[in-house]
Structures are given as structure tokens and as C-alpha cells.
């Protein structure tokens, strides 16, 4: 019996969302009184055994190079087979881009009930009930999984990373893989914090008047170690790349701190950011709807306020 934890990686690095998931899976296994085991397909540059610090005793690894590219069909078969072989009663994924492709397939293969977008450990006092986000962050649903095997996809940034001591044993998995999806090319902004993994996000809207004014957003983000984002009109006007667009039609994020500058806060924008733990709004319009969803705010001109915020952060952090 085990909780099987899918460890996602990219460019040779284990994703931060996977460290959250390892911590989540280990806590769940402890609660159920079973082993926490990981599964990783492909190869990473770091010592996998060190992931034992997050509470797994064993990691199953299928180290074929071909598995460094996702084919959800191949992945689902390997993970479901491993779940069966190890007697897993729960299989957990991060509800990130790869998890969204793989978790439903694994659930279907195992005929296991799936809750995706989970935000907490399940309530096991009376059955197996998982809390998840619904209605684009406007509500929660408590969903009961009624099958012997359960699949959970955990929203990124909803469970803290818990690091302790220990190392994991690596168990090689011998599998055959014949992907039907061929990866032609990948473009990835290097050296930047991916938006979905960022703890702090600084975001700009139409109030900034033009792409030439983004320097102050980037300066504030840099001082805070934050990722940058933008609203839909900004992406549509090509002031910023589409992969920075947060909101209902863009990327949904849940950072610890979201700073919205010159964004009015339309309901479609809120749907993508309302799971942020703390929201700060800077807008010169006191009637901007975003203030109703904010925790802190400044009614003022962004061009005056933002550079002063950056200065204050630098002073606080002792950056010259």
C-alpha cells in the first residue's frame, strides 16, 4: 500500500510544484499509515535520492531519454502500471500543465475517481473528501472520491514545501515507450521564474499606457524576486507576450503576493488571480473594482508610486 507521487521535471530540474506535491503526498501517506513513493519518468541533473528530504522513501525511475518529452498516453500507461504493481491506493499529481494532461488518463486507466484542482489534504475521517477550487476561484467544492483507488491533482502554491532529513532509494523501472506525439521544438524563457511557480507576481495593465513603461514593473519585480504578468488588453495589444497574460482566458495563478498596477480588475481578470493569498492594487481610480478584492491598496499615479515602492524594497533588503 502506498501513496504514489508523480515527480514532474523540465530541463533537468525537478519543478517546484513537485516539491510541494512530495510534501503533500508524504503527509497524506503518514495520515493513511502507508508508504510514500515517488515516480519520475526521464532524467534529471540532480541527485534524485536527495528528494528523500521531502518524505519519500523510494522513487521509481524510468530513465529512458525519450521520456524527457511528454506523451500523455505513454506516461499514463507507465504510471498506472506502477500504481498497480506497488499497490498504490492514492496517486497524486500537481495540477500543472503536465499534470492536467496525465492525471485524467491515469484515473481513467485505473477507473479511479479524480479530483483535480485540490487545495488541501483530504478529509479521511468519514470517507475520502477532497477540497477543490470551483467557479474559477469563486467557491470551493468538497468532493468525495468513491473508488478504492483515488487520484488527486493538487493546485500549485496551495501546499507548503516541507523539508526534513533522509534520502530515497532509487528503483529503476524497465519500460518500453513508443510515443505517438513527437516534440518538434520548445521555446522557454530561461532564467525567469515561471509564472505558475512564482511566489510573488507583479502585473501591469492598460494604466501603464504603453510597453515602453514596463521598465518600472520589471525593476519592482527584480527587487522582489518576482515574476512579471499582465492583463488581457496588454497582451492583446502585444505590449507584452501572451504567456504573461493572467486571467480567465490566460493563466490562472495563486501566488503569495499579487501586485496589480494600473489594472481595473474586471471579473475575467479576477478569475485568474483571486486565489492569490495577498492582493495589492495600485490604481489612480478610487472606483476601480479591483480595490474590492484587494488586501492593500494605493490610490495614486503608478508612475510616481511604483519607483518609490521599488526603492523601499531595495532599502529593506539592503540592495544598493
Amino acid at each position: 500500500m502506498s501513496v504514489l507521487i508523480f515527480i514532474d521535471h523540465s530541463e533537468g530540474h525537478v519543478k517546484k510544484a513537485s516539491l510541494e506535491l512530495l510534501s503533500y503526498g508524504a503527509a497524506l501517506a503518514a495520515r493513511l499509515g502507508v508508504a510514500a513513493e515517488g515516480i519520475l519518468l526521464g532524467t534529471v541533473n540532480s541527485d534524485l535520492g536527495a528528494l528523500g528530504r521531502y518524505g519519500v522513501k523510494k522513487i521509481h525511475q524510468a530513465a529512458q531519454e525519450v521520456l524527457n518529452h511528454l506523451d500523455s498516453q505513454v506516461y499514463a500507461r507507465i504510471i498506472a502500471d506502477a500504481a498497480t504493481a506497488t499497490g498504490a491506493t492514492v496517486v497524486v499529481f500537481s495540477n500543472n500543465v503536465n499534470g492536467k494532461a496525465i492525471a485524467p488518463r491515469v484515473a481513467a486507466r485505473l477507473k479511479a475517481g479524480l479530483v483535480s484542482g485540490a487545495v488541501a489534504l483530504p478529509d479521511t475521517a468519514n470517507g475520502f473528501v477532497v477540497r477543490k477550487n470551483v467557479f474559477s476561484g469563486k467557491a470551493f467544492a468538497n468532493v468525495s472520491i468513491n473508488t478504492p483507488i483515488k487520484v488527486i491533482a493538487l493546485n500549485p502554491n496551495s501546499y507548503p514545501v516541507k523539508e526534513g532529513e533522509g534520502s530515497a532509494e532509487i528503483a529503476p523501472l524497465n519500460v518500453t515507450a513508443a510515443p505517438r506525439v513527437k516534440v518538434v521544438s520548445t521555446t522557454q524563457a530561461s532564467g525567469q521564474v515561471p509564472l505558475t511557480e512564482a511566489e510573488i507576481v507583479v502585473s501591469g495593465g492598460r494604466g501603464l499606457k504603453g510597453p515602453e513603461n514596463w521598465g518600472m514593473i520589471e525593476d519592482l519585480a527584480k527587487a522582489l524576486g518576482a515574476a512579471t504578468a499582465c492583463s488581457r488588453p496588454v497582451a492583446d495589444a502585444h505590449w507584452r507576450p501572451h504567456n504573461e497574460h493572467v486571467g480567465q482566458t490566460g493563466i490562472a495563478i495563486a501566488p503569495n503576493l499579487y501586485i496589480a498596477i494600473g489594472i481595473s480588475g474586471a471579473i475575467q481578470h479576477l478569475a485568474g488571480v483571486n486565489r492569490s493569498k495577498v492582493i495589492v492594487v495600485v490604481n489612480k481610480d478610487p472606483e476601480a473594482p479591483f480595490f474590492k478584492a484587494a488586501d492593500y491598496g494605493i490610490v495614486g499615479d503608478a508612475f510616481e508610486v511604483v519607483p518609490k515602492m521599488t526603492e523601499a524594497v531595495k532599502k529593506l533588503k539592503g540592495i544598493a
Binding site: K15, R105, Q188, D295, G300
Partner: protein, 247 residues
């Protein structure tokens, strides 16, 4: 080329979210229902564009829902599509819905199945993946671009901080999001034509539901915004550091 587009009925984006029956059911009173935006704007419109490029292409729409789903199916047909199929069942959990759609897909023999990336009500992002597994099809999710050359699809999908371009031979299943197509407003010709296009009603196949909603909850109300004077941004930074402790 035969394409199936899976569509779902959701409350309008701006609908007030509340619950009834001791917080176990969504309160649909006064709610305007729409086609799930990702299904309509991206999956359906892209299928229609492919049909416009190659008029021999046949586009079918499928949904799982009771008779009250028909207005949104007609609206979808007004945007485009040759025929719609409604499986006459209340949409239960994702496995149940995907199993019904799998039966429709098996009967229709489609080369390509398109869905939206998720519904804006349950945010499950799971129907596409379950359906692909039930049909043993390759699945590319969160597509931002979709091109077709003969029977090979070139699909660009979102990855963390970037994009990946994949190639796959049909048949295949793709979930769509912004970038795949642009929203269209149905014209009068489409609306008139939609009235006469076939809308088949199928009875559901027997299958299991694997999950059930125990209750819904609204998040606790925000305490209200704490405003800091515009001439003192340093105070805001101090509060974020010392009070909110977010950095």
C-alpha cells in the same frame, strides 16, 4: 475529415455564485447559461475554420445534458457545425460524462476530437484526458495553436514559462485555449440555419460515477482593503513585510 467538438453548458462568467439545498447544489435561479467559453471560442471556432478551408470536412457537436441544454446547443450550431448530439443525462462526474462522449465518438468514427481546456464552473480540465484514455487516442492539452496538414496535426501547447510544438498523426484529441482561434459572433444566416440542422438525442449508456460533491462553500469575505496614502509607498512595503509577511 470528421471532427467532433465537445461542448458544455456553464453559468455566464459574471453570474453570481450561490448554492441551495444546504449548499449541495449550484443555485441556477436567474443565472444566464452560456456555452463554456473555451469550448466555443477556441475548439468550436477552430473546427469551423478547418471546415471553411476544406468544405468536405464534417463537424459534429456533442454535449451531455438534459433538455434545458438545447438553447446553448442551438447557439453553438449558429456559429457552425453540421449536426449536434445531446446525450440525455444530467452531467454527473467527469468519468461519467467522458464515458458518454466516448460512446458518441465510437459511433461517429472521428479523425479529430476538440475540447476546451476546462469548464469555467468545475475547472476540472479532465474530460479531454479521460476521453482520450477511453478511446486510446493521443492527447495534447492546453493547445495555443493548431494546424492541420493532411492527417498530421501540428499543435503548440502551453508549458511552464513557454511553449512546446508537437506533431501527431490523427486520430487524436486536443484541448484548446486562447490562441487557437478567435471568438465569433453568430450571424443571422447562421442563426436561421441552426434551426433546421439535426440535433440528435441519445439515451446514456450505463456507466458509473466515481466521485460526488458533498458540499460547496464560498470563500470567507475579504476584510476590506487597507489603503496607504499615495505619498508613502514605503509604508505599503513595510506592511507587506511585517504584517502580511509575504516577503
Amino acid at each position: 475529415m470528421k471532427i467532433l467538438v465537445c461542448i458544455s453548458k456553464t453559468p455566464d462568467t459574471t453570474a453570481k455564485i450561490s448554492f441551495t439545498q444546504n449548499n449541495t447544489k449550484f443555485n441556477g435561479d436567474g443565472v444566464q447559461w452560456i456555452i463554456n467559453p473555451y469550448d466555443e471560442w477556441y475548439a468550436l471556432v477552430r473546427a469551423i475554420e478547418l471546415k471553411e478551408k476544406d468544405p468536405t470536412t464534417v463537424v459534429h457537436l456533442a454535449t451531455v445534458g438534459l433538455a434545458d441544454t438545447e438553447p446553448i446547443i442551438r447557439k453553438a450550431l449558429a456559429i457552425g457545425g453540421d449536426e449536434a448530439i445531446r446525450v440525455n443525462a444530467d452531467s454527473a462526474d467527469s468519468y461519467y460524462i467522458a464515458s458518454q462522449l466516448a460512446e458518441v465518438a465510437r459511433q461517429g468514427g472521428y479523425d479529430l476530437i476538440l475540447t476546451g481546456k476546462e469548464t469555467i464552473d468545475y475547472n476540472g480540465s479532465s474530460i479531454g484526458g479521460i476521453l482520450a484514455e477511453l478511446l486510446d487516442l493521443p492527447y495534447i492539452s492546453l493547445a495555443v495553436k493548431f494546424e492541420l496538414n493532411g492527417t498530421t496535426a501540428t499543435v503548440t501547447r502551453e508549458i511552464e514559462g513557454g511553449e512546446e510544438t508537437d506533431e501527431v498523426s490523427l486520430p487524436a484529441l486536443v484541448s484548446c485555449q486562447k490562441g487557437v482561434a478567435e471568438q465569433r459572433i453568430p450571424n443571422m444566416k447562421g442563426i436561421m440555419g441552426a434551426r433546421t440542422r439535426p440535433l440528435k438525442v441519445l439515451e446514456p449508456v450505463a456507466t458509473d460515477t466515481l466521485t460526488s460533491v458533498v458540499s460547496f462553500e464560498l470563500p470567507p469575505a475579504k476584510a476590506g482593503v487597507k489603503l496607504v496614502p499615495a505619498d508613502n509607498p514605503a509604508e505599503l512595503i513595510r506592511l507587506l513585510h511585517e504584517e502580511a509577511k509575504v516577503f
